[in-house]
Amino acid sequence: MNYKKLIATAITMGIITCAAGAGAAAEGELTVNIWDNNQLAGLQSIVDEWEEETGYSANINVVNWDQYWTLLEAGASGGQMPDVFWMHSNTAQMYMENDLLLNLDDYIAADDTIDLSNYYEGIVTLYSSNGHQYALPKDHDTIALLYNEALFEKYGVDTPTDDWTWEDVYEAAKAITEAGAADGVYGYAVNTSNNQDGWYNIVYDYGAQIITDDHKGTTIGSEEGKAGMEMVRKLLTVSTPQTMVAESGTDSLFQSNQVAMITQGSWMVNAFYTAEHGADYKWALLPYADVNGNGQCDEGERQSSYNGLGWAAAANTANPDAAYSLISYLCNEQGQLKQSERGITMAAYIGASDAFTTAFEGLDLSPFTRIEEEGSLYFRPYTRKTTVWEDALQQAGGFLDAWQNPEDAELMATACDNAQAIIENAIANE
């Protein structure tokens, strides 16, 4: 009887201490939330160095992209946000306007190591509201063409070069899809959800904009927009069918050697470098659209989206000094150089990204930096509530129907008109 009582008490005490201990971080330790597992190791190494230099401590949590914003919002509504976290263009305006981010103006003014003119202007403006700065630029990313050298060799097709147009991509994809039909291999793959890293770039190449520069409208339904999506439609006729891409994802299909080319962003480099057949994967300059037909790449014909994350702190954090210290360490010139050298991402600090191109042994990542010189960059399209129209474009009623039937050019044109209406409605309701 006593033995039973003892066990019961022990278990109860255990449960109580576990429950109490689970939520509590160590005294004064910052909670840091990010969503990209690929960047964890590199960022952890920089944070470790910061901990040694300053004596503060921090704990990085990786929360999957799909849950990251739900969690952050729940925390914001409930008053329990992480101390330091990533900010993204999709939601930055909402968080800034609701006073949820720590105002960094005074800290920046007192900080010698941070001068905002050293960063990409688009990213700095993104994270400022009403003249106040709420996050420091962390990185910038661009898009490039990823191809499987082994598959190109196997089917006897020439590999991508710097002067490839999207028509060349179409020809190569067609050749591989036809040759590889027996093995189930396709030349190209793109889903409606591959927007920043996929079809957005083609739309901009042809002269239309998903979101206009004032963030208040769109030109996807214009002649240029329809021309761009017509090129996408052409590519779809030689790409992996949408239902397969929806089930497996373009990245998995590529890593399983079922697809020869996809377009992807610089934040994915590590995932493909460390994949099973990573040695075969190479990056090439993002192709351009020869809209004026003169056989060379002119201004505006080669476009890549770029985005920049920001390091922000919660407005109600218990340790604002420690939080800013961490943010500053990660975003000053030294921190940005470290980020590039260790192959985490490219820097938001202008000129600090060259080290990134050689950070991975045996892999040439210059396509990601050369696109800025040999092409143009446009900021990832965003509005106040980006996900509303972004998701709607990817599903039935948006572009999904056109993706299902790439043979039908009418569907794609109608989809462009639908997309125009969807975006305009969404902006009107914001």
Binding site: S193, Q242, M244, E247, Q394, L400
Partner: protein
């Protein structure tokens, strides 16, 4: 003298009674009742960010969802949810009833079999969904590769709802089976003996003795499983990508609620969806309760 002694003792009992009930009562009030009223309250608003700046719009949300621009999607989702319930409830009840009867006999390894059939309940729903997602994959999935078929299990709008229903049945069989076994224990063995003496076959014994005497348990399981099936969400969310072409013919009401409330930040519309689902479930439950006398055999 006697009177006051009794009331003191009863008072003490009453105090202890309340002391033990208060934690649960508090939990119910704060975590169940308050959110229910808050949800109904929010359905009359156009909600602002982070709970601030709600604008009162009366019944506009209801108008929108029942007859306006959002109605097609809403009614389709409701129908999808009913379709899912039509697969999950009857099949899981029938299969688990048979299993319970088979596993109620004296046989070798009975405990092992019962454990095996109950295991799906122990697995995390997200893990279950992930595994089934890859089982159903049309290129690499185990099902297509073992049976040499090329069926798009979760991408064909015509059969995706059945595929999801199968996952639902598989997960809940163990739970229903355990409840049925409990119900079977209560049936006195004399009935079966008497039937055997009279020469009744196994099937007749099952149909005329087991099923009627099990009907209270069956009724309970059917009622709770209908309610459970109508609130399904995790299966569709985890198994089907948001660009899946079969999604509009498979997504449940709660999936729509998640999309509106969390992805789009429109909690007013989400609250309205929940209220609509609540009313629907109440109607179904009322119908079931009214028909209890007809189907349930009480001693």
């Amino acid at each position: 003298m006697k009177k006051s002694k009794m009331s003191v003792a009863r008072k003490k009992e009453a105090v202890w009674g309340w002391a033990f009930i208060i934690p649960t009562m508090l939990g119910l009030l704060i975590l169940n009742f308050y959110p229910i009223f808050n949800t109904v309250y929010q359905s009359f608003f156009k909600t602002g960010d982070f709970g601030k700046g709600n604008i009162y719009i009366g019944l506009k949300n209801y108008q929108n969802l029942l007859a306006g621009t959002g109605s097609k999607e809403m009614w389709q989702s409701l129908w999808n949810t009913v379709k899912y319930a039509i697969i999950e409830v009857p099949f899981s009840v029938i299969i688990s009833m048979l299993l319970a009867v088979l596993l109620n006999r004296k046989m070798k390894g009975r405990s092992a079999y019962r454990t095996i059939f109950f295991l799906p309940m122990v697995c995390a729903p997200a893990a279950v969904a992930m595994v089934w997602k890859w089982l159903y994959n049309q290129q690499f999935g185990l099902i297509n590769n073992v049976f040499h078929t090329k069926i798009a299990w979760i991408s064909d709008p015509k059969i995706a709802w059945i595929a999801i229903g199968v996952i639902g049945v598989w997960s809940i069989i163990g739970y229903n089976m355990v409840l049925f076994i409990g119900g079977l224990q209560e049936i006195p063995g004399d009935y079966y003996e008497a039937a055997r003496i009279d020469g009744a076959s196994g099937f007749r014994q099952f149909w005329n003795i087991t099923v009627p005497l099990l009907s209270p348990t069956t009724f309970f399981i059917v009622q709770t499983r209908i309610i459970g099936a109508l609130t399904v969400f995790d299966l569709m969310f985890m198994v089907m990508d948001k660009t899946n072409v079969a999604l509009s013919k498979t997504q449940s009401i709660v999936y729509l609620f998640y999309q509106y409330s969390f992805t789009n930040g429109n909690k007013g519309v989400g609250a309205t969806l929940v209220v609509i689902l609540l009313v629907f479930i109440m109607i179904i439950t009322a119908i079931l309760q009214a028909s209890e006398k007809k189907f349930v055999y009480h001693n």
